[in-house]
């Protein structure tokens, strides 16, 4: 069973590697941003499987932390880059 979990981790790591191609090629900022979602979700899956493979349940906390920050990155980029253009509703 353990070899299977290691295989899964290896496989998911390779999908992360493949996703890096999209970071590199772009072409737009949004495309690159999309890869943070890939890293967030896949990273989480890797950590979940690793936590079972290593028998270290606390790794689940790393998983949730990483995903929280991956999402914050998206929120930040989108809000930062559209801040200048969005209609300023209630700004005084």
């Amino acid at each position: 069973m353990l070899w299977f979990l290691h295989l899964v981790v290896l496989f998911l790591l390779l999908t992360v590697c493949a996703g890096l191609v999209r970071v590199w090629r772009g072409p737009t900022l949004a495309d690159r941003l999309l890869t943070t979602q890939l890293f967030g979700t896949t990273g989480m899956a890797i950590l979940i499987v690793l936590s079972g493979a290593l028998g270290e349940p606390t790794l689940l906390n790393v998983a949730i932390t990483f995903n929280v920050l991956a999402v914050l990155l998206v929120v930040c980029l989108v809000r930062v880059w559209t801040a200048g253009k969005a209609p300023k509703g209630g700004a005084s």
Partner: protein, 105 residues
Amino acid sequence: MSVADVIAIVLISAGCFFFLAGTVGLLRLPDLFSRLHALTKADNLGLGLVAAGMAIYMANPWAALKLFFIWIFTLLASSTACYLISRFAREQAGVTANSGKEDER
């Protein structure tokens, strides 16, 4: 190898398939919106399956509950991220490609 292990292997393999689908979609699909569509949907399903498989493998109710909440949280968070990215791309593109069509904000 017990029955639980077999179920876990099947679930995790299915999860890996969806991760593969998401990544292939991210790399091969022609434009941003279809990539977004492929990645965020497939990956979240993949995560759910992997989490379910690991919950069975770990056989620990506390860990299983945590995995379940992690998955629910991820669903909420990444669908928001998906929406934000597509809106962002639309606003960025709207300036030249779509300038006549102003969406209501």
